[in-house]
Each structure stands twice: as structure tokens, then as C-alpha cells.
């Protein structure tokens, strides 16, 4: 009946009352297991690059400055907070924090950079040991990696030697506008 429906509709609001939250004037806590911005613990990170390999948005970049120093850069501007990096990290160095208020005008606020000193193998001169975990087995990271940290872009293939031409192409990449380019 029409009138009883109307009365029920008005009464529907009586039990919950006003549900407007006071956010942002009061903080609003999130449940546990929330996937907020990832955070790297530089004490635990071994520089294996598993996170860089698995990141769906290609926003974790790796650059070897020299044989002993590896720079890992996380650029939060394209991060989708999927949590694959945290899942795959063999050292549990990445945690998905509960920070979600990440809007900012400076890129540095959402960037995390780690500069890691890599111990070198005395026999071959390379860095990590691949026997311990499966994730590292599946990496195709070999040799040096030289993602372009300046333009924050990822280099799809790695070669055993640094190739200046490929590197320059990344910096100056322009989208093709006709076929045959």
C-alpha cells in the first residue's frame, strides 16, 4: 500500500541514524590486511630484483651503477597496490602499509629509492646466490640492468653488456604515428 510504503521509507532512516563519517576531520582506520603503499626495509633487501620482475605496472626499476652498487627505485605514481612485490619478496623486506592518503604534488613523496651494496662472488664476480629460493630461479635478470631512472622507464630486455644505444633510445622514445616506423 502506498502510504505504508512511504511511512516505512521514512522509518528506514531511524535505526541507522546519520551515517556520515567525520573523515577527513577525524582519521578513518582501515581493516588489517589492507593493501596500502608498499614499503621497503632496506636492512632486509638483498637486491634480488624479484619485485622488479613481478611488478605489474613496471614501476620498480633497477639500475646497477657499478658492480657493487645497485639502485632500486619504486615509483608510486603508477603503482596499483596489487601487492605482488610483497608476495614474492624472498626476504620479506616489503610490507604493504596502511597508508592510503598518498595524493601529492611532488613525485619524491611517493618514491622510495634503495642503494644497496652488493657483495661480489669471489669466483665469478657476480652478486646473488641463486640456490636458495624459487623466485630467484625464475628471474631473467642477468648481467647488468640499467632501467632509466631519469625518465622512470623500464627496459624490457637486458643484455650482458651495457648497450648505450638501447639506453639512449629509452630516453628519447616517441610513440610511432604511422605504420612502418
Amino acid at each position: 500500500m502506498w502510504l505504508t510504503s512511504k511511512i516505512k521509507q521514512i522509518a528506514m532512516a531511524l535505526r541507522p541514524g546519520v551515517v556520515t563519517l567525520r573523515y577527513p576531520f577525524e582519521p578513518h582506520p582501515v581493516p588489517e590486511n589492507f593493501r596500502g603503499a608498499p614499503h621497503w626495509d632496506h636492512h632486509k633487501c638483498v637486491g634480488c630484483g624479484a619485485c622488479a620482475n613481478h611488478c605489474s605496472s613496471r614501476c620498480i626499476l633497477v639500475r646497477d651503477l657499478c658492480q657493487e652498487i645497485r639502485v632500486m627505485l619504486y615509483d608510486g605514481s603508477r603503482c596499483t597496490y596489487c601487492g605482488r612485490c610483497a608476495e614474492v619478496c624472498p626476504e620479506d623486506a616489503i610490507t604493504m602499509t596502511d597508508r592510503f592518503e598518498l595524493a601529492t604534488g611532488q613525485k619524491e613523496d611517493i618514491t622510495e629509492t634503495l642503494e644497496l651494496f652488493m657483495l661480489t662472488c669471489q669466483r665469478c664476480g657476480r652478486c646473488f646466490d641463486m640456490e636458495n629460493t624459487n623466485m630467484l630461479d625464475r628471474l631473467d635478470l642477468r648481467g647488468y640492468r640499467y632501467d632509466s631512472l631519469e625518465t622512470r622507464s623500464f627496459i624490457r630486455k637486458t643484455t650482458d653488456q651495457f648497450d648505450k644505444e638501447i639506453f639512449d633510445k629509452t630516453v628519447k622514445y616517441e610513440r610511432p604515428d604511422k605504420l612502418g616506423d
Binding site: 521509507q9 528506514m12 532512516a13 546519520v18 551515517v19
Partner: protein
């Protein structure tokens, strides 16, 4: 002395119409279990709109004139209204035909604005507004005619006070119900905001307006709401008059607030009807109104 009443009318209406609109918004929000804007929000809205750049998107004088005409018409009606049961000095210079004419002029200025904006959506909204006006104004006219039949005069205060002044009869009771049923259509709120605020379906006759023009139209709508509510209070609820002007004024404003609460509750619990369904509804109301007038002609 009576010239003061004109100014008091205008000041009271201009100052309080946004407040009552704020009450509607607040009450609607509470029914929807949310906090809602502060009750004085419409003042902020009007101030903001009046401060913006006036873009004449249709590039003709009628477009610029329409909101001013609407506001002028409603303010003139307000100066005739015998608020507080005291006729103003202008009340004697007009009669109910003038009031009906000026209210229709307000509607016509919306049409003028809509049709001069050369926009498809505005034209659809204007056609709906025209249909609504044609069907709903007769109910208002019948309300006045009811009183006119009783006192055999067309004067504003005479007709208004006489309708319920000698107690309720069948005719007055019927007219009261009809007026309440038509109130939502008068003030253009759900379920009858078909022409004006059809945000989902069309943007309506105000689509090309922005800034001060839009602010004036909004003010016009708020004043119109308050006028219809005050008309209801003056005509159908005369029993709380005490004789002192200021006390009566305050009592009437409180009653107007109650009417606004009613508008808010009905408005927030109804979907919007289609124009053809609304026309069927209005025709029933017109028939009932004519019956009420007929009954009053027989003195019932």
C-alpha cells in the same frame, strides 16, 4: 503605517526563503540517513552564484531579462500578501486576478528564458513547464475563487481571510486537501519536479543559465515555495491569530516551517513522475477543486 508592512513582507521573505529551503535540504538528508548541508547553505549558494561572471550564452536580451522578470514578479506578489493578517498598503490596489497573473508571469519568464536559450533540452523542459502551468494554475485560481464566491468580492485580503474565517465547511475541507495534494506541484518538488529540476533526464529550462542569472532563478524558486506555503497558512490555518502583528508573524513563520517539513518529507519519499502521468493527476485535482468551489457556492 501600512507601508511598513510592505517592507517587512519583502524583507522577511527575502531573508527567510533560503532558510526554509535549507530546512528542506536538511530534512531530506536526515531521511536519507546522512548529515546534509548546514541549514544556511542556500545563502552561501546564492552568494556564490551572484558573484560569478554573467555569461550570456544565448546572446539575446530575453535571455538576460528572464530571471529579472521572474524575481520581479514574485516580489510584487509578496508585497500584496497579508502576512500577519495585516493587509499592506498595496493590497488594496490589487485583487486576486492580479495575483494569479503575476504568478503566471513568473512561469512565463521561465519559459522565456528556456526558449531563448536555443537548446534542445531547454525546449523539452519548457514544454513540460508549460503543460504543468496550464494544469496547475487553475487549482490556485480555484482556491481564491472559493473565497471570492463567499464574500462576493475579488479583494485579496477579503477572499483570503474569508475562506476559513468562518469555520471549515465541506468545501473548505475539500479545498484544503486539494491544495495539499497540489502543493508539491506548486513548489516543483518531487514527485512533480518534472520540468524544473530534471537532472537525470534533462537539465530543464535552466540549462544555459549560470552565475547571477541562475542565482536569480534559484531565488525566484525559493520565494515561490515560501509564498505558496504562506498562502496555505494564511488561508487555511487562521485559528491561531492573536491580534498582535508581531506575534502573528512569528506564529505564521512557525507554521510555514511545518509546511516546509511536510514538503520535504513528501519530496524525499517519492520518485519523479512522467509528464503524462502528472497530467492525469492534475486533471483529477482540477475536477475536485471545481467541486469544492461548487459546494461553496451552495454555502456548504
Amino acid at each position: 503605517m501600512e507601508i511598513v508592512y510592505v517592507f517587512i513582507n519583502i524583507v522577511v521573505f527575502l531573508a527567510l526563503a533560503p532558510l526554509f529551503d535549507g530546512i528542506i535540504r536538511k530534512l531530506t538528508a536526515r531521511v536519507q540517513s546522512r548529515q546534509g548541508p548546514p541549514v544556511i547553505q542556500p545563502y552561501f549558494d546564492l552568494l556564490k552564484l551572484l558573484g560569478k561572471e554573467n555569461i550570456n550564452s544565448a546572446d539575446n536580451r530575453a535571455f538576460k531579462l528572464a530571471p529579472v522578470m521572474a524575481l520581479a514578479s514574485i516580489i510584487s506578489v509578496i508585497s500584496f500578501v497579508p502576512l500577519g493578517y495585516k493587509a499592506t498598503c498595496l493590497t488594496g490596489y490589487a485583487d486576486i486576478i492580479t495575483v494569479i497573473y503575476l504568478l503566471t508571469l513568473g512561469g512565463v519568464s521561465i519559459l522565456l528564458g528556456a526558449l531563448s536559450s536555443k537548446n534542445t533540452y531547454a525546449m523539452i523542459g519548457a514544454s513540460r513547464e508549460m503543460v504543468t502551468m496550464v494544469m496547475v494554475e487553475p487549482v490556485l485560481a480555484m482556491t481564491f475563487i472559493l473565497g471570492a464566491v463567499k464574500v462576493r468580492s475579488l479583494g485579496i485580503d477579503a477572499t483570503m481571510f474569508s475562506i476559513a474565517g468562518n469555520g471549515y465547511g465541506w468545501s473548505v475541507g475539500l479545498m484544503l486537501i486539494v491544495y495539499l495534494l497540489a502543493l508539491q506541484a506548486f513548489v516543483a518538488k518531487q514527485p512533480f519536479d518534472i520540468a524544473e529540476a530534471e537532472i537525470e533526464i534533462l537539465e530543464g529550462p535552466f540549462i544555459e543559465y549560470s552565475g547571477p542569472g541562475y542565482g536569480l532563478f534559484k531565488y525566484y524558486m525559493m520565494l515561490k515555495q515560501m509564498f505558496y506555503a504562506s498562502l496555505f497558512v494564511i488561508v487555511f490555518m487562521p485559528f491561531l491569530s492573536s491580534g498582535f502583528y508581531l506575534v502573528d508573524l512569528v506564529i505564521q513563520l512557525a507554521e510555514i516551517a511545518v509546511v516546509f517539513a511536510f514538503i520535504a518529507l513528501v519530496g524525499s519519499t517519492n520518485p519523479r513522475l512522467r509528464i503524462d502521468q502528472a497530467v492525469k493527476y492534475y486533471s483529477v485535482l482540477i475536477v475536485l477543486a471545481i467541486c469544492a468551489v461548487g459546494l461553496s457556492a451552495y454555502g456548504i
